[in-house]
């Protein structure tokens, strides 16, 4: 992944700052609670949700386990339909391909559909360095771009902003980028949406190059699918002469029919709608309708490394609905920025450390950004067992071991910060395998219980800073069991 968030502090520090921001917490609480109830209703409307979820999981797993075959098939279908396919092993290569394609058109600006893949690779910054200006056209992305801010949610990158803040950003910044905000703009959502409509209209109408991602790519037909709400996607996909789509290799579905699952589960999971306002599908180019030049950039950037992990690869099933963010108690309080990645929330906590590796402080801390409550798994429309992967990644951070980075197997050293934890586990292993020592230790602990401190000294201090130490009973369980004949002779001592 790109260095968009380089220098981020580890999750605990970033989260510590975020939870003290009252406005942020209020905004997040309001938004996530609004969508939670709506999603539950939208899901309850379909009687076969469990079956759709299972089919979605199976389709994605099957595709991933035959990914090479489907990638080749997709390339053939897209090419046959008039598109050009490019392959990008990492972010730099993808950015270079897109910049070269834009330059070849002679244009110096592009309009963009909201896309996680292009955020992940830092495309806007890379294009800027090449003298090409990228205009974000999704309302929330526009708010982030105008506010010189970072995204904090997969679906609604400006979820951390309330209507008043959005109005202030529009008033202050729109004139820098084009048409200024209307005089007397208020903070009603309808007026804010109208201001965005007016501001972006001129950009859509003159755009010659559009850049998008895609929600799905169909190997059988070469069709790409973009699911959206505002119509900015349709503008970018149909008005320009050239369309460049940057899509992660895991976005493939084998057949056209597979859409019948995901076009039912995605809208209900993300915006809690029966169906989102607009879905566009296109297959290569169409004569005299829409862009006459279509380029598909297939992006790896850590995905094959993730695929190499038998437990972690299920994260590649993700369809970016963001339902897991909206139900997560940690996300609700810490907000998206604390995750230090374009992928925040529970899915980000398992995706970012796999795409980027766990070497950096932030990535090593992300698997711990969870209470393992499991709400994310419950709502996931492709049944990603996020707690399972979190625990798996924690083990990798603590124990080290073999992983794949950029296609090569490497052995990670155990992380430094977990020495005390490892020492405690080693001591436990030693004691539990020696009954005599364990008994002596337990008796000693019972007799000295009055002198136990309330918190641990030394390396254990951080752990007991947020927890009470468990009270030691006056008599070890095993002694009690023997003395009372398993409780039959009366329990009290």
């Amino acid at each position: 992944m790109s260095g968009t968030f380089v220098g981020m502090p580890a999750f605990p520090k970033a989260a510590h700052e975020a939870v003290h921001d009252q406005t942020l917490r209020g905004n997040l609480r309001h938004a996530t609670h609004t969508i939670r109830a709506k999603r539950a209703n939208a899901v309850a409307e379909v009687s076969d949700w469990a079956e759709l979820r299972e089919a979605g999981k199976q389709i994605k797993d099957h595709t991933l386990r035959h990914l090479d075959r489907y990638l080749v098939q997709l390339e053939e279908s897209v090419t046959a339909a008039g598109g050009t396919v490019h392959w990008a092993a990492d972010a730099d290569e993808a950015n270079r391909i897109v910049a070269d394609l834009v330059k070849a058109t002679g244009e110096s600006e592009v309009v963009k559909v909201k896309s996680m893949a292009t955020q992940e690779i830092g495309l806007n910054e890379a294009l800027e360095a090449e003298g090409i200006r990228a205009y974000e056209t999704d309302l929330a992305e526009l708010i982030v771009q105008l506010g010189k801010d970072r995204p904090s949610h997969i679906l609604v990158p400006a979820i951390h902003r309330n209507r008043g803040e959005i109005r202030d950003i529009f008033r202050k910044e729109m004139s820098e980028w084009g048409r200024p905000a209307p005089e007397g703009l208020t903070d009603t959502p309808a007026e804010l949406a109208e201001a965005a409509r007016l501001h972006l209209r001129e950009k859509f109408l003159r755009a010659k190059v559009g850049v998008s991602g895609a929600n799905f790519m169909i190997a059988e037909t070469g069709t790409l699918v973009v699911v959206e709400s505002e119509g900015n996607g349709r503008m970018c996909l149909t008005l320009p002469e050239t369309l460049i789509s940057v899509v992660g290799i895991e976005k493939i579905l084998p057949t056209w029919q597979d859409l019948e699952v995901f076009l039912q589960t995605l809208p209900r999971s993300s915006t809690a709608e029966r169906m989102n306002p607009y879905t566009s599908t296109w297959t290569g180019t169409t004569d005299e309708d829409g862009p006459q030049n279509f380029h598909l950039v297939l992006l790896d950037n850590g995905r094959t490394d993730t695929l190499a992990d038998e437990v972690g690869r299920q994260a590649l099933r993700c369809i970016r609905c963001s339902a897991c963010l909206n139900v997560c108690p940690v996300y609700e309080r810490a907000g998206g920025h604390a995750y230090g990645s374009v992928y925040p929330g529970p899915i980000g906590a398992i995706l970012s450390p796999q795409l980027r590796g766990t070497q950096s402080e932030i990535d090593a801390s992300l698997p711990y950004a969870s209470s393992l409550c499991g709400a994310c798994y419950e709502v996931c429309p492709v049944a990603i067992d996020i707690p399972e992967v979190l625990v798996h990644l924690r083990e990798r951070v603590v124990e080290g071991g073999e992983v794949t980075r950029e296609g090569n197997k490497v052995v990670l050293k155990p992380a430094k910060g977990h020495a005390a934890e490892r020492a405690a586990m080693r001591a436990a292993r030693w004691a539990f395998s020696r009954p005599g020592a364990l008994r002596t230790g337990q008796r000693l602990a019972s007799r000295t219980r009055r002198f136990h401190p309330r918190s641990l000294p030394g390396p254990g201090k951080a752990w007991s800073g947020t927890r009470d130490l468990p009270a030691v009973p006056s008599e070890p369980f095993r002694d009690w069991w023997q003395r009372t004949n398993g409780g039959k002779d009366g329990g009290a001592k």
Binding site: T34, A89, P189, L205, E230, R234, W256, L307
Partner: protein, 226 residues
């Protein structure tokens, strides 16, 4: 080594744990994945399915009209007049009778029109390929009676005619069966909207802010503009 070969090589190495028998399995894909979900939710008569379409369209703020084939031209003319539309975009294959009563000036859907020219047109009238009752969705496939994708995008007012019951299906799976993936498709569920401000839905962003759907009953126009 090209990036194509590099990525495909990485994929193959990453899947080393998948049994060779599974990787080489020639079982048709249709049998490889269980599909225990239903084709249609609920049991409805044809009339009830059309009613559900109307209900769900309206739920997402589309304005729904119902009329007979004989009344269609008057209905459309009334809608354009009520809107005050002076100009209306017309796809090349649209049944000429549909607009026979309308006073608005016809603007043909041409390859050479610029986006700015389209932006000055008040309304657009199209047919559709299929409509989905369960989700309140109309799908356009670029057929001659629907025109290029952009004509239903740039003008602020879209009138879409659905021939009922023959163009109405119950569910998303049924709609996909009827559609040709080789054609550029636009699935429309209500006017353009956003959930980007506090995750609450607001209608009216970049696409047409007013979507009017006419459910036209009867066979009179069923034989044209296929």
């Amino acid at each position: 080594m090209s990036s194509r070969e590099r990525i495909l090589g990485r994929v193959r190495r990453a899947l080393a744990d998948v049994p060779a028998a599974e990787r080489q399995d020639d079982t048709p894909y249709k049998q490889a994945v269980p599909r225990d979900y239903v084709r249609v939710h609920g049991d409805r008569s044809v009339a009830e399915t059309v009613d559900l379409l109307a209900e769900n369209l309206a739920d997402y703020r589309a304005i729904v009209h119902r009329c007979t084939a004989g009344d269609l031209s008057v209905t459309i003319a009334g809608m354009l007049a009520a809107r005050g539309a002076k100009t209306v975009l017309v796809p090349p294959g649209l049944d000429a009778k549909w607009l026979s009563a309308a006073e608005a000036e016809r603007v043909p859907d041409l390859a050479g029109s610029t986006p700015d020219e389209l932006d000055r047109v008040d309304s657009v009238v199209t047919a559709c390929a299929v409509a989905v009752a369960e989700t309140g969705t109309i799908v356009l496939d670029g057929s001659p009676d629907q025109g290029r994708r952009r004509i239903t995008l740039v003008p602020d007012h879209h009138i879409c005619v659905v021939r009922v019951p023959e163009q109405v299906v119950s569910s998303v799976p049924q709609a996909l069966e009827r559609l040709d993936p080789a054609r550029p498709l636009t699935w429309i569920s209500g006017p353009s909207a956003t959930s980007d401000i506090e995750l609450d839905r607001v209608e009216g962003v970049h696409g047409p802010r007013t979507l009017e759907v006419v459910l036209v009953d009867g066979q009179e126009s069923a034989d044209v503009s296929s």
